[in-house]
C-alpha cells in the first residue's frame, strides 16, 4: 500500500467512526492526518505543491568532509608547477584573510600539484590522474570550479554548506527537503545519512543532518553498518516479530478505543507511526543488506563495496535507497583536510572514493534513475595554492581556502558535460562566474521544483529559508 492509499484507508476508517466533527474539533484536520504529518505549533503554516515542474526528485549528496584540494583534482593550474616554491604574490592574495595555521608563516610558497592532468570526454574537462573513474564519466558531469563559501574553518564552513548558515540551530538541507517535499516511500526515512566507518579526520556533528527548529521528524536518519542499521531497530533478546505483531494488534484496538472515547485523533496517529516502525524493522534491514547484489555490482563499485560501512558500500546503499524513492541520501566521507603530507593522503582519499562515486552515477544512469536523481560531490571549502608548512620536492600541504572550491554534479537536470566558472592562474581568486553556497542551494532546490525564496518556515517571528535572504539560481548549470 502506498502512503497515499494508506492515508485514504485511514480516512475511511475514521469516517466509519462517525465522529468527524469531533475529530476535526480536536484541532487536527483530516487532511493533515492523511499526510501522516500532523501540524502543530509553528508548523501549522502549510501549503501547496511544487513551484514548478521538477527536474530532480531525489538527491544523493556525496559530502567530502575536510575540504578536498581542487588543485589536485579538478582545477588544473600549470602555473603553480612552473612557479613552484616562489612566494605567493601580494597582488594575488590582496590581503585577504588566512587561517591562523598558515597566516603567521614567514613564507607562503606556491605549491604545484604533483599529479598529471589531462582533458577528458567531449567536454574536455581537465582532471587529474587521481580520479580516473570520475574522469571516465566526464560527459555526465557538470563541474563547478568556482564555489565560494564565507567560512574559513571546518565547523562553520561545513555547517554553512549543509544548513545554509554558519550559525547553529538551522535545519539541514535534507531536513528542508523532508519538510518541503515530504516522502515518496512511507516505509523508509525521507532523509538518510551514511557515514564512512572508521575514517579519521574532522569530527562530524549531528547538526549537519539535524532538523534545527523544524520538527525532529525531519532530521536525517543515520543508517549504520552493522547489526543495528537504524537506532533501536532490533527487537530485544527474547522478543520476536510475532510478539511485536501481537503487541501492535492489541495497541491498535486500544488506541481506536481511546480515540473513540476521547475524540482525540492523536492515538490514531500514534498507532500509524507504530505500524510504520514495524515496517521499518523489515524494510531497513532489507535495503541495508547488500548480499542480494550480483557480482556485477562489486565489479562496478569495487571490491571495497563488499565491506559494510566503506564509502563504496555506502554508494551501493545510496543507490538502493534511491531505487526505493528515498528523497535525500547524504554520504559523509572524512579525511580530506590535508594541511601536510597532501600527496600521499589525497591518493588514499581518491582510492577510497573515486571509483564508487563514478560507479554510482553510472549505475543510476543504467537504471534510468539518473534523469531525475541529482548527485552532488564536494566539500566545505577548497585549499590554498600556497604550501602550508615546509615545501619539499616530494611533499607539501595546503591550508583552507574559502574563495574557490570545485564541486561536481550529475543527473537531475544539470547540464551534463560542462565546466562552469574560472579561477585565476594561481587558483586563488575567481575571475569568472562565482557560485556562492547560497546559489548552489538555490540551484539544487530549483532542480527539485522548489523556489528557494518560497520554501520558508516561520520561527521566532521571522521567515527562515535554506538560502537566508540570498541565493540566485545559476541557470547555466541547468541542462
Amino acid at each position: 500500500m502506498t502512503e497515499h492509499e494508506r492515508a485514504l484507508a485511514l480516512q475511511g476508517h475514521l469516517r466509519t467512526l462517525g465522529r468527524r466533527s469531533l475529530l476535526r474539533g480536536a484541532g487536527l484536520g483530516l487532511a493533515s492526518l492523511a499526510l501522516g504529518r500532523i501540524a502543530r505549533g509553528d508548523e501549522g503554516e502549510q501549503a501547496q505543491g511544487l513551484h514548478h515542474a521538477p527536474r530532480a526528485r531525489r538527491v544523493v549528496h556525496l559530502f567530502q568532509s575536510g575540504g578536498p584540494s581542487q588543485l589536485e583534482l579538478f582545477d588544473h593550474k600549470p602555473l603553480l608547477q612552473e612557479r613552484n616554491g616562489e612566494e605567493l604574490p601580494d597582488s594575488v592574495r590582496r590581503g585577504q584573510r588566512l587561517t591562523g595555521m598558515s597566516g603567521n608563516q614567514a613564507s607562503l610558497p606556491l605549491a604545484g600539484a604533483q599529479f598529471q592532468f589531462a582533458r577528458h570526454g567531449e567536454s574536455g574537462a581537465w582532471m587529474s590522474e587521481l580520479v580516473p573513474h570520475t574522469a571516465a564519466i566526464a560527459d555526465d558531469l557538470c563541474i563547478v570550479r568556482t564555489v565560494v563559501t564565507e567560512a574559513i574553518n571546518h565547523d562553520p564552513a561545513a555547517t554553512f554548506l549543509l544548513t545554509g548558515s554558519q550559525i547553529a540551530g538551522r535545519p539541514s538541507m535534507g531536513a528542508w527537503l523532508s519538510y518541503g517535499l515530504g516522502t515518496m516511500n512511507g516505509d523508509l526515512p525521507v532523509f538518510c545519512v551514511l557515514v564512512t566507518k572508521g575514517k579519521g579526520g574532522q569530527p562530524l556533528y549531528k547538526r549537519l543532518w539535524g532538523s534545527g527548529f523544524l520538527s525532529a521528524r525531519h532530521q536525517g536518519v543515520q543508517l549504520r553498518a552493522g547489526p543495528d542499521p537504524v537506532l533501536y531497530l532490533n527487537d530485544p533478546p527474547g522478543l520476536d516479530r510475532a510478539t511485536r505483531r501481537r503487541m501492535l494488534d492489541a495497541l491498535r484496538e486500544m488506541h481506536e478505543d481511546d480515540a473513540q472515547r476521547s475524540g482525540d485523533v492523536a492515538p490514531l496517529d500514534r498507532i500509524a507511526q507504530a505500524e510504520l516502525a514495524f515496517r521499518l524493522q523489515s524494510s531497513v534491514p532489507e535495503v541495508a543488506d547488500l548480499s542480494d547484489e550480483p557480482d556485477a555490482t562489486f565489479e562496478l563499485y569495487g571490491e571495497d563495496a563488499r565491506n559494510p560501512g566503506t564509502y563504496a558500500a555506502n554508494c551501493v546503499l545510496a543507490r538502493r535507497l534511491i531505487e526505493r524513492d528515498v528523497r535525500f541520501v547524504q554520504l559523509f566521507h572524512r579525511g580530506w583536510d590535508q594541511h601536510g603530507s597532501l600527496p600521499g593522503a589525497i591518493r588514499t582519499q581518491c582510492r577510497e572514493t573515486d571509483r564508487a562515486s563514478a560507479a554510482l552515477v553510472t549505475d543510476l544512469k543504467r537504471r534510468g534513475l539518473l534523469d531525475d536523481t541529482l548527485v552532488v560531490w564536494g566539500g566545505e571549502f577548497g585549499r590554498t595554492c600556497y604550501c602550508q608548512g615546509k615545501l619539499t620536492p616530494t611533499n607539501y600541504g595546503r591550508d583552507h581556502h574559502p574563495r574557490c572550491a570545485s564541486v561536481w554534479m550529475a543527473g537531475g537536470g544539470v547540464r551534463a558535460g560542462s565546466v562552469y566558472g574560472e579561477t585565476d592562474e594561481f587558483g586563488y581568486n575567481i575571475v569568472r562566474d562565482p557560485v556562492h553556497v547560497h546559489d548552489l542551494h538555490a540551484t539544487i532546490l530549483h532542480l527539485l521544483g522548489v523556489d528557494h525564496e518560497r520554501l520558508v518556515h516561520r520561527h521566532q517571528g521571522r521567515r527562515f529559508r535554506l538560502t537566508d535572504v540570498h541565493g540566485e539560481v545559476v541557470e547555466a548549470l541547468v541542462g
Binding site: H4, R24, G25, L35, G41, D42, Q46, Q48, L50, T99, G100, M101, N104, A106, S107, N153, A168, G169, G182, T183, M184, V195, P203, L204, Y205, K206, F213, S215, A216, R217, Q219, R224, G226, V230, L231, Y232, D235, G238, L239, R246, M247, A250, L251, M254, D258, R261, S262, G263, D264, D269, R270, L276, A277, D325, D399, V450, R454, Q460, G461, R462
Partner: protein
C-alpha cells in the same frame, strides 16, 4: 513510482497571520456598530508583515525615506501629499498605492511577492478615515491589572484567574469541561510539577483521601520536592542552552554542571524570579556578591566555544558575545534580537545599533574567543569552586605565603641561591651550542639558524621558522624566581616571538612564559590562560631596530605583575602592566623546550639576531642586571645564608599553595575585565555583523522602543538586570508568567513564546496574563506561589475530554474549555518509565552521567568512546544525562529535545516511528518493561490483577473493559508463545541493563528462574512493553 505527497511549501503571502482581517470586519458590519480599527492588533501586524521590509525601522533597506512604523513619517508632508493623511483615506498616497491597478504603481511591489487583499485594503482605509491613530505595541506597554470579570456561574471559579477564563467561555457559550477524575488529576499534576508519575501508593492514598484539602496537600507535597526542582531545571536547561561540552568540532567537556546544580538550588529554594534573573546576568556585580551568585553567571558562558586550529580569535569572541545577547533577550524578554545583529530589524523596532548597545553589556569580561587546544585550562574568567576542606587548607597556605613574604622583606638583599643557575650561551664558532655553565645542557639548533657577527664574537640569525632550543632548561613553576638575559638586534616587527617556553600561539590557549615583540614593544608574560589568568608587562617605548641591545627580564616568583622587571642595556625599562591575575600553573599541555626564534603557528623572529643568552634560576636585582649587560656574567657576591633560607621558605610556601590551587575545580563565569588600559575594550557596531567590520563605538543602552525605567545611562550588566526586573518592565513578568503557565498547562498564554515583538498579535487572554503578571510582581516574583495558584485553579482541574459543543465552539482549545493534551517531553517519558519500574535513582546533582546510548555514535563522529556508566548512573533522571552537543543523547533528540547549541524557549512535539522503536527496543525501556512486569507478577497471580497493576503503574488508570480484554488476550497469547520457547522467556525475563550494555549478559542469565517464573515474567513484560508505547502513557491528559 508513487506520487509525492502534497508538499508543505509555503506561499509568500502568509494567510495564517490571523489578525484583524475579514472575519472580524464582516461581523462588525453585520452588527452595524463596528468598533474602531485597533492599530496595535489590526493595523500594525499588517504593516509589519507587508510594508516594514522597505518602510520600517531598517535603515539599510528603507525606500523613499518613508517609515510606516512612525506616525510622524507616515503623515509627513511630502510636497503636497502624504503617505497617510488622517481622516482622508481617499487622499492618502498609501491607499492610492496599495489599491493601484497599474503594477508600476502598486504597493507592495509585484516582485516582492507580497500583496494586500481587498479586505485588508479596506481595513487600512477605514483606519485612516478614523484618524490613523498609532499606538505602541501592546507588549511594550506596562501590564496593568484588570478586574476579574463577572461570570454567570459563580460556583465554578476557584481562583480569580478562573473568572477570566469562564467569562470568555460564557461569551462563546461554551461550558467548561467536567473536572478531571482523581487519578487523571493526580497523574497530571504529578507530571506537570515533578516530571514523575504518581506511584501506586500515591494513587491509592489520593483515591481514598476525601478531605476537601486533599488535592491542595498533594500540590504542596509536590512543590516542596526535589523532583519539582529537577523538573523546572530541565526546562531551564533548554533556555540556557546548557550542555556539558563546548560544541563546535572538538566539543570538549566544559565542566559546567555546578551551574546546573545552582539552578536546582534556586528552584528548590524558590529563589524569587527577579533574583533568579539578576544573579544569572550579574551575580558578580551585585553589592553582596557571593560565590553562589557568581556561579549563577555561568549562564552567560554556556554558549558554544571553539578551539579549532587556525580560527580567528576575535571572530569567535564576537559570536559568544552575540549569543549572550540573543539568549538574554529570548530568555527574559521574549524577544528575538538575532536579526538585528546583521541589519536593522525589519519588523521589530530594534536597530543594529541597539543590538550592539545590548552586546556591550556582555563585552566586559577578560575572555578569549578560543578555548585551550592543548590544555584543560578553564576559559577565563573562571571562578574557583573549592570544597570546604580545600578552602580551609588554602587559607592556611595563603597565610604561610604572606608570613614568608614578610620575613623575606626584612632582608635588604635578594636571595642568591634559589634554583641552580642554568645556562650561558655565546654561540661562538668553536662550540656554537655550548653551555658555559659547568655541567649545563647544551643548546640545540633547529633547522639551522645562520652564524652572523654577534654583539660579542659570533651570534645567530633566525629565519622566523627555525629556532635555538634549550632542552632541559627553564622548566619553571610560577613560584620559581628566574631571570633571562639576551642580546637582540632586530628589524621592525609588528609581532615576533623572541624567547618562550610554551606550546604554541595563544589560539591554542597555551601556557608558559614568553618574551614577545608586539607593535614594536617588548612584552613579558607568564600565562596560565590568556588573557584572564596571566601576568604581563610591556615596555612603553618601542624597541630600537637594527642595533644590538641587551634585554633582561626578571621574575620574583610572586605571580604578580609587580614581580616582573624588564631591563634594557642594564637599565630598568619603563613598563606598563598588561595583565595582573595569575592564579594557576604555567606548565603542562605538552609544552616544548625553552626556545628562541619561532613557535607553532605564530609569527617568528624573522631576520632577527641573537647573542649571549643567560638563564638564572633566581631573580637578579637591578645592579646585577646592569652588570649582566655590561660584563656578560653575574659573579654573585657573598651569599647571605639567612636571606637564601627565607627565599627558599617563600618559594616552598608558594609552591605548596599553588599545588592546591591547581587542584581546585573551576568554572567559567562572568567577571569584569581588569581596569587596565591594555584590557579595556570598546564595543562597536559591526557592519553586517562581521567581526572585522567595525563601525562607530557604542555605549551600553536599552532599545528605544522599550521604556528606560530610570536607566537612561546604564553602565553594566547589573543595571541591565535591574532594568529587566524593574516592576514596570513591560516584558519580563509577562514572559515568565507565560513560561510558568506553559509549565503546567503545556501551552502558553502567548501565541509565540519566543517572540512577543511587534510581529506577535496580542494574546487571546491578554487581561489574564497582564493581571497575573502584576500579581506575580507584587508577590515578590514568587514562582512557586504562582504555580500553586495555577494548578489549584478550576481551569487546570478540567478533564481533557471535551463535549461536542466545546469542540465546535473552541476547536483549538484557545479558550481553555478543557485540559490540553499533548505528548510529554523526552525527560518525562524516560524518567516516568524508570520510576514506574522502581528503577529511577534519586541522587541529586553532581557531575553529569552516561546512561545507555547505542555504541559507536561518538566513535563515528569524533573517535571518542562513550563512557557508559554503571549502577545508579545508568538510571538517573534525564536532566543529568551528559549532553554532548555534537552527538546529543539520541533517544532524547528523537523526542524533540533541542540540540542545546542555541537558546530554545519551546520545543516542538512530534510523533515519529523512530520514537516508537526507541520505546520498544532501547534497552532502558526494555529493562523498565521487564522490571515493572516483575513487580506485577510478584504483586498478584491473577491476570486481571497483573494487567491492572501494569496499567496503573504506567498510565495511573485501571484498564477499561476493552483494554483489559485486549491486554488479557495478549498476555495469554504470549504465555503460550513463551511456553514453547522457554529460553526466549528466560532471556527476556532476566534482562539486566547494566550486564547488557557492558557485554556481560550470558546465555545462562535467567537459568535460576523456574520455567513458570520465566514464562510469566516474560509474557507480562511484553504487555508492559506494549503499554510503554501507549498514547495514554505518553501524553498529558
Amino acid at each position: 513510482m508513487t506520487q509525492p505527497s502534497p508538499s508543505w511549501l509555503v506561499p509568500v503571502v502568509f494567510i495564517a497571520l490571523g489578525i484583524g482581517g475579514s472575519g472580524r470586519l464582516a461581523l462588525g458590519e453585520e452588527r452595524g456598530d463596528r468598533p474602531p480599527v485597533d492599530f496595535a492588533t489590526q493595523v500594525r501586524p499588517l504593516l509589519s508583515d507587508r510594508c516594514f521590509q522597505c518602510h520600517g525601522p531598517d535603515e539599510g533597506s528603507r525606500e523613499a525615506d518613508l517609515r510606516l512604523d512612525l506616525r510622524s513619517s507616515a503623515t509627513e508632508d511630502r510636497g503636497g501629499y502624504a503617505a497617510v493623511l488622517p481622516h482622508e483615506a481617499a487622499e492618502s498616497e498609501l491607499v492610492f498605492r496599495i489599491a493601484a491597478d497599474d503594477p508600476d504603481e502598486r504597493m507592495p511591489p509585484v516582485e516582492s511577492g507580497l500583496s494586500l487583499d481587498a479586505e485588508e485594503i479596506a481595513l487600512l482605509s477605514r483606519w485612516i478615515d478614523e484618524g490613523a491613530a498609532y499606538a505602541g505595541h501592546w507588549a511594550f506597554e506596562r501590564p496593568e491589572r484588570a478586574a476579574p470579570p463577572a461570570v454567570g456561574d459563580e460556583g465554578w471559579p476557584r481562583d480569580s484567574l478562573d473568572r477570566f477564563i469562564l467569562a470568555e467561555l460564557e461569551a462563546a457559550q461554551v461550558l467548561p469541561a467536567q473536572p478531571a477524575d482523581r487519578a487523571t488529576l493526580l497523574r497530571r499534576v504529578s507530571l506537570d510539577l515533578t516530571g514523575l508519575p504518581p506511584t501506586l501508593a500515591e494513587l491509592d492514598a489520593f483515591e481514598v483521601d476525601t478531605a476537601p484539602d486533599a488535592y491542595e496537600r498533594v500540590v504542596d507535597r509536590l512543590l516542596a520536592s526535589t523532583a519539582h526542582a529537577e523538573r523546572l531545571a530541565a526546562d531551564w536547561l533548554d533556555v540556557a542552552r546548557y550542555a556539558d561540552t563546548f560544541g563546535y568540532q572538538s566539543d570538549v567537556n566544559m565542566n559546567v554542571w555546578p551551574w546546573r546544580d545552582w539552578v536546582l538550588d534556586a528552584f528548590e529554594e524558590n529563589l524569587p524570579y527577579d533574583d533568579f534573573v539578576t544573579q544569572q546576568l550579574a551575580g558578580d556585580l551585585i553589592p553582596d556578591a557571593t560565590r553562589d551568585t557568581r556561579l549563577a553567571t555561568t549562564f552567560n558562558r554556556l554558549h558554544r566555544q571553539t578551539n579549532e586550529g587556525g580560527s580567528v580569535e576575535e571572530e569567535f569572541r564576537v559570536e559568544y558575545v552575540s549569543d549572550r545577547v540573543e539568549t538574554m533577550a529570548a530568555a527574559f524578554l521574549g524577544l528575538t534580537m538575532g536579526c538585528a545583529r546583521c541589519h536593522d530589524h525589519k519588523f521589530d523596532s530594534f536597530t543594529q545599533r541597539e543590538f550592539y548597545s545590548f552586546s556591550s553589556f556582555f563585552d566586559d569580561i577578560d575572555e578569549s574567543g578560543l578555548y585551550s587546544h592543548f590544555t584543560g585550562s578553564v576559559p577565563t574568567p573562571a571562578l574557583d569552586l573549592p570544597t570546604q576542606a580545600q578552602e580551609r587548607e588554602l587559607a592556611e597556605l595563603e597565610e604561610a605565603v604572606v608570613a614568608a613574604e614578610q620575613a623575606l622583606a626584612g632582608f635588604d638583599v635578594l636571595p642568591r641561591r634559589g634554583v641552580p643557575a642554568a645556562g650561558r650561551f655565546s654561540f661562538e664558532p668553536e662550540a656554537v651550542t655550548a653551555n658555559a655553565v659547568e655541567g649545563g645542557p647544551a643548546a640545540v639548533l633547529v633547522d639551522a639558524p645562520v652564524a652572523v657577527e654577534g654583539s660579542r664574537g659570533q651570534g645567530l640569525r633566525l629565519s622566523g621558522e627555525n629556532a635555538v632550543a634549550f632542552p632541559g632548561l627553564g622548566d619553571f613553576h610560577r613560584s620559581d624566581p628566574f631571570s633571562i638575559g639576551l642580546w637582540l638586534n632586530m628589524p621592525a616587527f609588528e609581532r615576533a616571538v623572541v624567547i618562550h617556553r610554551t606550546k604554541s600561539w595563544t589560539d591554542s590557549g597555551s601556557r608558559g612564559y614568553q618574551l614577545l615583540v608586539e607593535e614594536g614593544r617588548l612584552v613579558v608574560a607568564l600565562v596560565h590562560f590568556w588573557p584572564g589568568d596571566a601576568i604581563a608587562i610591556r615596555t612603553r617605548e618601542t624597541f630600537p631596530t637594527g642595533e644590538w641591545h641587551h634585554v633582561a627580564f626578571t621574575y620574583d616568583g610572586s605571580s604578580r605583575a609587580s614581580g616582573l622587571h624588564l631591563y634594557l642595556d642594564g637599565e630598568p625599562a619603563e613598563c606598563e602592566v598588561v595583565r595582573d591575575h595569575l592564579t594557576r600553573t604555567i606548565r603542562g599541555g605538552s609544552i616544548g623546550n625553552l626556545a628562541i626564534g619561532s613557535r607553532f603557528r605564530d609569527k617568528g623572529y624573522k631576520d632577527g639576531l641573537v647573542d649571549e643568552v643567560t638563564l638564572h634560576g633566581r631573580e637578579l636585582c637591578a645592579e646585577e642586571a646592569a652588570v649582566l649587560a655590561k660584563e656578560g656574567v653575574v659573579e654573585g657576591g657573598a651569599p647571605d645564608p639567612a636571606a637564601d633560607a627565607a627565599g627558599e621558605t617563600l618559594r616552598a610556601a608558594r609552591a605548596r599553595r599553588d599545588v592546591l590551587r591547581d587542584r581546585i575545580r573551576q568554572i567559567m563565569t562572568m567577571a569584569e575585565a581588569p581596569d587596565l588600559p591594555a584590557a579595556r575594550r570598546t564595543a562597536h557596531l559591526l557592519h553586517r555583523g562581521v567581526y572585522s567590520e567595525r563601525r562607530d563605538p557604542v555605549e551600553p543602552g536599552m532599545p528605544d522602543c522599550l521604556p528606560t525605567l530610570g536607566f537612561e545611562t546604564p553602565r553594566d550588566r547589573l543595571d541591565l538586570a535591574r532594568w529587566i526586573t524593574h516592576p514596570d518592565h513591560p516584558l519580563t513578568a509577562r514572559v515568565q508568567v507565560d513560561r510558568l503557565w506553559r509549565t503546567v498547562f503545556s501551552v502558553g498564554l502567548l501565541p509565540r513564546p519566543e517572540d512577543i515583538g511587534s510581529q506577535s498579535p496580542p494574546p487571546r487572554h491578554r487581561a489574564l496574563i497582564d493581571t497575573l503578571a502584576r500579581d506575580f510582581i507584587e508577590s515578590g516574583w514568587d514562582c512557586r506561589a504562582l504555580l500553586r495558584r495555577l494548578v489549584l485553579s478550576a481551569t487546570y482541574r478540567q478533564a481533557s475530554v471535551a463535549s461536542e459543543g466545546a469542540i465546535a465552539a473552541d476547536p483549538d482549545n484557545e479558550l481553555f474549555s478543557r485540559a490540553r493534551r499533548g505528548r510529554r517531553p523526552a525527560e518525562m517519558i524516560r524518567d516516568g518509565a524508570l520510576h514506574a519500574a522502581g528503577l529511577l535513582a534519586s541522587t541529586r546533582g553532581g557531575p553529569s552521567v552516561f546512561p545507555y546510548e547505542p555504541p559507536g555514535l561518538w566513535q563515528q563522529k569524533c573517535g571518542k568512546r562513550y563512557p557508559t556508566g554503571r549502577g545508579d548512573s545508568l538510571r538517573r533522571r534525564s536532566l543529568y544525562t551528559f549532553w554532548k552537543r555534537t552527538s546529543p543523547p539520541p533517544a532524547m533528540a528523537l523526542f524533540d529535545v533541542p540540540a542545546r547549541e542555541v537558546c530554545a524557549v519551546a520545543r516542538p512535539s512530534t510523533v515519529s516511528p523512530l520514537q516508537v522503536l526507541t520505546l520498544w527496543n532501547d534497552p532502558q525501556f526494555v529493562e523498565a518493561a521487564v522490571r515493572v512486569a516483575a513487580s506485577a507478577v510478584e504483586a498478584t497471580s491473577d491476570d486481571a490483577g497483573r494487567i491492572e497493576h501494569l496499567m496503573r503503574a504506567l498510565t495511573s488508570h485501571a484498564p477499561t473493559e476493552r483494554e483489559a480484554r485486549e491486554l488479557g488476550a495478549l498476555l495469554t497469547a504470549q504465555r503460550e508463545a513463551y511456553r514453547s520457547d522457554v529460553d526466549a522467556a528466560r532471556t527476556l525475563a532476566a534482562f539486566d541493563l547494566e550486564r547488557f550494555v557492558h557485554g556481560e549478559a550470558t546465555p545462562t542469565d535467567g537459568a535460576d528462574l523456574s520455567e513458570e517464573d520465566a514464562v510469566e515474567r516474560a509474557a507480562t513484560a511484553v504487555v508492559a512493553s506494549a503499554l510503554l508505547g501507549l498514547d495514554a502513557t505518553l501524553t498529558r491528559r
